[in-house]
């Protein structure tokens, strides 16, 4: 990643988001690095910026569910329930074809902006993450289940989804 792009990303993230989240991530990474935590309000702008700088190959999106853990002596105030959405983009033309991924932390009812308008490939990938993990992608044109039947109850990759959850038999 070039220093100019790093500076632009830093400038983008320095802007206060128009709609500040009620519960900002506890420890946002200050360096531009793989796996950095980005506020949800900056997600779409960051993808736009990266695409304009050659990161045009859509790689993948991976959502994960983090339920609130029980308070323990080690962690008296565990962080509240959250979702983490990691987005990976790649620059296929730069030397080394670097991939860059960042993470967005969401409260349970919070939605993340879809990037289907930038990357047509995000369509099915975001549908799959909604289907399996239950993260809502705002402005997605067709947020329907992809892998599971349309009448499936629940989102199986959530940590609170028991593996033996009863469900209606497949027709």
């Amino acid at each position: 990643m070039s220093p100019e792009l790093e500076a632009e990303i830093a400038a983008l993230l320095a802007d206060p988001p128009a709609d500040p989240p009620a519960d900002p991530p506890a420890d946002p990474l200050q360096v531009i690095a793989e796996g950095m935590i980005v506020p949800a309000a900056h997600h779409h702008a960051l993808a736009t910026l990266l695409k304009a700088h050659g990161y045009g190959l859509y790689v993948t999106v991976a959502a994960s569910h983090w339920p609130q853990e029980k308070a323990s002596r080690k962690e008296p105030n565990p962080p509240p329930e959250r979702f983490e959405v990691a987005t990976v983009l790649r620059n296929p033309t730069a030397p080394g074809a670097p991939a860059f991924w960042w993470s967005v932390h969401l409260a349970p009812a919070e939605a993340i902006d879809s990037i289907v308008d930038l990357f047509a490939g995000a369509d099915w990938q975001e549908r799959e993450q909604w289907d399996l993990v239950g993260v809502v992608f705002a402005n997605h044109p067709n947020l329907k289940r992809l892998m599971l039947p349309e009448d499936w109850q629940g989102h199986p990759l959530r940590k609170d989804y028991a593996i033996d959850t009863p469900h209606a038999p497949w027709r």
Binding site: A86, R90, L146, M147
Partner: protein
């Protein structure tokens, strides 16, 4: 098959194809459906050209497709959820079943993610063997892609199933070599945390060289079956042209991307294993049609044969694994920050996004980035505007593996 297609189709110069304008996959057809102009046709899920179980709902205006909606998921087995319940040592055999035509690369990708998080380095001989097996696996996988595509387009390649049978015969040679090495023909479980499980047996390379000679000799004929065959060219040239921009946006990086002019190959651009010690020629075509997607695979097989010979000639001495052999399901412990690792599978970028648990024995979340899911997502953009008879050719040229699409 459409009867008027071959006569009306104008054969254009191969490199001068312009992609059709982008289509809206969500085009609203409600006003047409009311007066019965359009017909809905389900292609699949049990259709030979879907290479598994994949359903496409086609909305047809006469012979022309106006809208295509893909429905994957018929083979969804919940692999990612299952992996969260298994220990790291137990996962490799599960991943063999994902891309069942190229299990070697699936298991290598996962173990590379573990090694990256744990900071473990694989010994040079282990990496060398992984490189060699990945290239042999690419040959085997592309042979199936070539053969099944020939079957999909039916009579265009001398009787349809001839080439299919012949490429299976050649692939058998590589499967025999893998069987001699690992004891199994498909689900090898030979890659493990820190290196390889099985060392090359004595004299193994002689058999592989003989097999490579035979495959190379036959590949000349198979290439001619395609690009030197006017019926094949009429059937494939200019059909399903995929533009470079759309291919990038959809995340097509493998042979599909390279057939559309994306000069990108992770083996050359971001070398892993021992690829930095090799000179790799990456074939790139600009046409982006079905013929280019066939031809690129033929060229890649030849390149992989060349690389395999080079690899066989210089296998270094030393250990094949840097870790102790697995003695139990919890013997692999990996702790650290999440990581994304990608390798160049036969179908494109195969990636693993892995978050280990705090204890370091299981994945907390594991996302597999299957190249085939991105490949089948193309149909909604590529099929509209084409004839129904071309839908099968386009789908066959994408070479999707439903095992890794649905996972």
């Amino acid at each position: 098959m459409s009867t008027d297609h071959a006569s009306t189709h104008v054969v254009t110069p191969w490199t001068a194809l312009t992609p059709p304008p982008r289509v809206d996959p969500y085009v609203d057809l409600s006003e047409f459906e009311a007066d019965g102009d359009l017909m809905v046709l389900n292609l699949g899920p049990q259709h030979p050209s879907t290479h598994g179980v994949f359903r496409i709902k086609l909305v047809l205006d006469g012979e022309v497709i106006v809208k295509a909606v893909g429905y994957p998921g018929y083979l969804h087995r919940g692999v990612e959820k299952l992996c969260e319940k298994l220990t790291f040592a137990n996962i490799t055999p599960i991943l063999d079943k994902n891309d069942y035509l190229a299990p070697m690369t699936s298991e290598q990708c996962f173990n590379m993610a573990l090694e990256k998080i744990a900071g473990v380095e694989v010994p040079r001989r282990g990496r060398w063997i992984r490189t060699l097996l990945a290239e042999l696996q690419r040959i085997a996988s592309h042979l199936i892609a070539i053969g099944t595509f020939a079957m999909d387009i039916g009579g265009a390649i001398g009787g349809g199933t001839n080439l299919f049978m012949w490429t299976f015969r050649e692939r058998e040679l590589i499967l025999n070599a893998f069987e001699e090495l690992t004891g199994s023909r498909f689900h090898y479980n030979t890659s493990c945390f820190g290196g390889q499980r099985h060392d090359l047996p004595a004299g193994w390379d002689l058999g592989v060289i003989k097999a490579l000679d035979q495959i190379e000799r036959r590949m000349v004929e198979y290439a001619d079956f395609g690009t030197a065959n006017p019926i094949f060219v009429n059937r494939c040239r200019g059909i399903g042209v995929l533009g470079r921009d759309l291919a990038l946006e959809l995340g097509l990086s493998g042979p599909l991307g390279r057939a559309s002019g994306i000069d990108h190959d992770l083996r050359r651009d971001a070398p892993y294993h021992c690829y930095d010690e090799l000179q790799i020629n990456v074939p790139v075509l600009t046409a982006g049609d079905c013929e280019a997607r066939y031809d690129i695979r033929v060229q890649e097989v030849r390149e992989s044969i060349r690389l395999s010979r080079q690899l066989l000639a210089g296998v270094p001495e030393g250990p094949i694994c840097s870790e102790k052999p697995n003695i139990g399901p919890t013997s692999v412990r990996v702790k650290g920050a999440p990581a994304y690792v990608a390798i160049e599978g036969p179908r494109g970028e195969l990636g693993t996004f892995l978050i280990p648990t705090d204890k370091g024995t299981q994945p907390y979340r594991m996302k597999i980035r299957p190249p085939s899911l991105h490949a089948v997502a193309v149909v909604e953009h590529l099929l509209p505007g084409n004839n129904l008879s071309d839908a099968v050719a386009i789908l066959g040229s994408l070479d999707p593996i439903m095992g890794e699409v649905d996972r």
